[in-house]
């Protein structure tokens, strides 16, 4: 049996700054995962991934990442993706700095 589809968001790195960004419902890229489009359907995920990859003039390395729904909106489930929303743990650099 194929594995049940688990919710996702589409993420990438910004072309110029290189930081983590997420694909929104309006086909824009946000620096806040909570603004990402929360994708719960596999076929829709495939289409949105193609759309997100269609224009890579501003982004690099587009992929689907596991996500869950929190009070604020989509949130990471895996620690790697959680770090991407914050920054490194040894300095207050990256997103947590702002």
């Amino acid at each position: 049996m194929p594995r049940a589809f688990t919710p996702k968001v589409i993420t990438a790195n910004a072309l110029l700054e290189g930081d983590a960004i997420w694909f929104t419902q309006d086909d824009t890229w946000s620096r806040d995962i909570a603004e990402a489009e929360f994708i719960t359907d596999e076929a829709h995920a495939d289409i949105r991934l193609l759309e997100a990859r269609a224009d890579q003039s501003l982004v690099a390395g587009v992929y689907l990442a596991e996500a869950k729904l929190s009070d604020n909106g989509p949130a990471p489930t895996h620690f790697r993706e959680a770090f991407r929303t914050r920054g490194p743990s040894n300095y207050a650099h990256g997103k947590q700095e702002a």
């Binding site: 983590a20 890579q56 390395g61």
Partner: protein, 556 residues
């Protein structure tokens, strides 16, 4: 030190100009990411978790003060005021903006530096003993040969798309501080029965997923044959190395699958073929290079001030006991500056610290600095009479930690705090272990102990050759740390043995504490190091300390 000639200068400038054009074309959309990625990697530019990362080569770990000052300038101008020194004697900048990278490369070219071949399936930055040219007992400074190899391998048309990356390390001593047996090619300067200088050639070492200790391909290779012989090795690998499976592509696997004898035969016949084509031009070049590595003019003066300072200042005494190594010239010492202050990120130096170290090198150290694979900075040629002043300056810059070779002198790769390939973090584990043993005030009592931490199986943190190795893994979405014991990265290279099941992020530091305190009970006396005790007693008693419940069950 080697200074770029017109050819080097023109070549590096041209590469900067090419990359400037490539970046512009990526930004205006004429290049896709797929097209741009290999181009940026050729110039040392990675894309990591939070930002780009620029990896700058420090060839054979040698810098002059102007270069170190320029590294500080890059940190201030284009990054967040610091840089990270790596186990490959490189420096990495963690926060550059894509638009700034061509300027960074141009600023590097101003001081004869570049980021070429710090990535990709090419021959990477050649690493060397960080005490080269200064160590007591060295047969010959290995850096001229390392520079020759750098020039030969840079943009070598035949070796730009090898099956996988290729790393060469050199040492001029019996004592191995360059982990040469864990490199694709390891070279050690030796003398034969006639007193002639040559090389022991070791091939097929490597860490990573399948750790292997290199094997001797030639016990004595005449010095003049070095370059054609290395070219023969790499070209045999280029043909034979597997391209179907990334995990089986390194020369260690080629050697393992084909056997030493077959590789030896192929290398020897290829060598016979190509050696005549070199026609001695490599030797002319080497002679020129050797000239630029001539030893500084050492002087003889009194060391009374140094001895007096040792008596008067216990902190200075402790630092000089731990951080100095024997120099080949009388009255001189090799200074290791620890970039491992307790609780700080291993290998990170601020721009201010870089400038202080550069200034000390210029004033007291014949203008030379080294980066060690253990992520510290070395002043290789210092007269002992200058040490009190050097120590005072280091102290003022927060660089006087007296912990070289001790438990808090930890190698840690960037791990999941930066690296896109990581499976867990390594920096916080290093920070916590160092902080904990500083609180316990035990590290001088524990003595020589090398802890090495990697954030994934690629083993950039050399965990396999740590006396205690720690490997960070992702176990069902949680960070988990596996311990290996008894590894050794010196002339007696040994791959550490896995101790047992991994520990969670909250349990790894207590486990290390238990292990080290347990060793204090196990050692025969205070002169028996952790590694010696492990070799005498075997793994069992150490495993029992790490897993007390299992030990109890077995005893019941």
């Amino acid at each position: 030190m080697y200074v770029y000639n017109d050819f080097d200068e023109a070549f590096v400038r041209e590469r900067v100009a090419q990359f400037r054009g490539q970046v512009a074309r990526r930004i205006d959309g004429s290049l896709t990411e797929d097209e741009f990625k290999p181009l940026r990697l050729m110039n040392g530019l990675y894309l990591q978790l939070h930002a780009y990362m620029l990896r700058v080569a420090v060839p054979y770990g040698t810098l002059n003060s102007a270069q170190m000052t320029q590294l500080a300038h890059l940190a201030d101008t284009y990054d967040k005021g610091y840089g990270h020194f790596t186990t490959r004697q490189n420096i990495q900048y963690n926060w550059p903006d894509l638009r700034d990278v061509p300027d960074m490369l141009s600023d590097l070219a101003d001081v004869g530096m570049h980021a070429i071949q710090t990535s990709g399936n090419t021959i990477r930055n050649v690493t060397a003993d960080h005490f080269a040219g200064a160590a007591k007992g060295e047969i010959e400074d290995p850096r001229p040969v390392a520079e020759l190899l750098r020039q030969w391998s840079t943009d070598h048309p035949e070796f730009q798309s090898l099956p996988r990356k290729f790393k060469i390390a050199v040492t001029g001593c019996e004592a191995d501080r360059a982990v040469i047996r864990a490199h694709d090619i390891g070279l050690r300067v030796v003398r034969n029965g006639e007193g002639e200088i040559g090389y022991e050639v070791i091939v097929g070492g490597g860490l990573g997923r399948t750790p292997m200790v290199g094997k001797v391909l030639r016990t004595f290779l005449p010095k003049a044959d070095l370059l054609p012989y290395c070219e023969a090795i790499v070209s045999v690998y280029n043909l034979l190395g597997r391209r179907d499976n990334k995990y089986k592509a390194r020369i260690k696997i080629t050697l393992h699958e084909n056997g030493l004898e077959k590789i030896q035969d192929l290398v020897e016949s290829r060598f016979e073929q190509i050696a005549p084509l070199f026609g001695g031009v490599d030797q002319e070049l080497l002679a020129e290079i050797e000239h630029s590595f001539a030893a500084p003019a050492f002087v003889s003066k009194s060391v009374d001030g140094y001895e007096a300072a040792r008596l008067a200042n216990p902190a200075f005494r402790s630092w000089s006991d731990t951080n100095l190594a024997e120099h080949r010239a009388d009255g001189y010492a090799i200074v290791s500056i620890s970039i491992k202050k307790h609780g700080a990120t291993p290998g990170d130096a601020t721009s201010d610290q870089m400038r202080v170290m550069a200034e000390l090198a210029a004033r007291f150290g014949h203008d030379e600095l080294r980066i060690s694979h253990e992520q510290n900075v070395i002043l290789p040629h210092v007269h002992k009479s200058d040490l009190p002043e050097i120590y005072a300056a280091l102290r003022a810059a927060d660089l006087a930690t007296a912990n070289i070779g001790l438990i808090s002198d930890i190698i840690a790769c960037p791990g999941m705090d930066y690296c896109a390939l990581a499976t867990a973090r390594s920096i916080p584990v290093a920070q916590q272990i160092a902080t904990r043993f500083d609180e316990l005030k035990l590290e001088h009592d524990v003595g020589p102990l090398k802890i090495k931490i990697s954030g994934c199986i690629n083993a950039c943190g050399h965990h396999h050759v740590g006396h205690i190795g720690i490997l960070g893994l992702d176990r069902a979405g949680v960070e988990n740390y596996q311990i290996t014991l008894g590894g050794d990265g010196t002339q007696t290279t040994t791959i550490g043995e896995r101790a047992g099941p991994g520990f969670g992020a909250d349990d790894i530091v207590p486990a290390i504490e238990r292990l080290v305190l347990g060793y204090l009970d196990l050692r025969s006396d205070s002169s028996e190091t952790f590694l010696q005790a492990y070799r005498r007693l075997g793994a069992e008693p150490f495993k029992n300390i790490l897993y007390p419940e299992k030990a109890q069950k077995n005893a019941a």
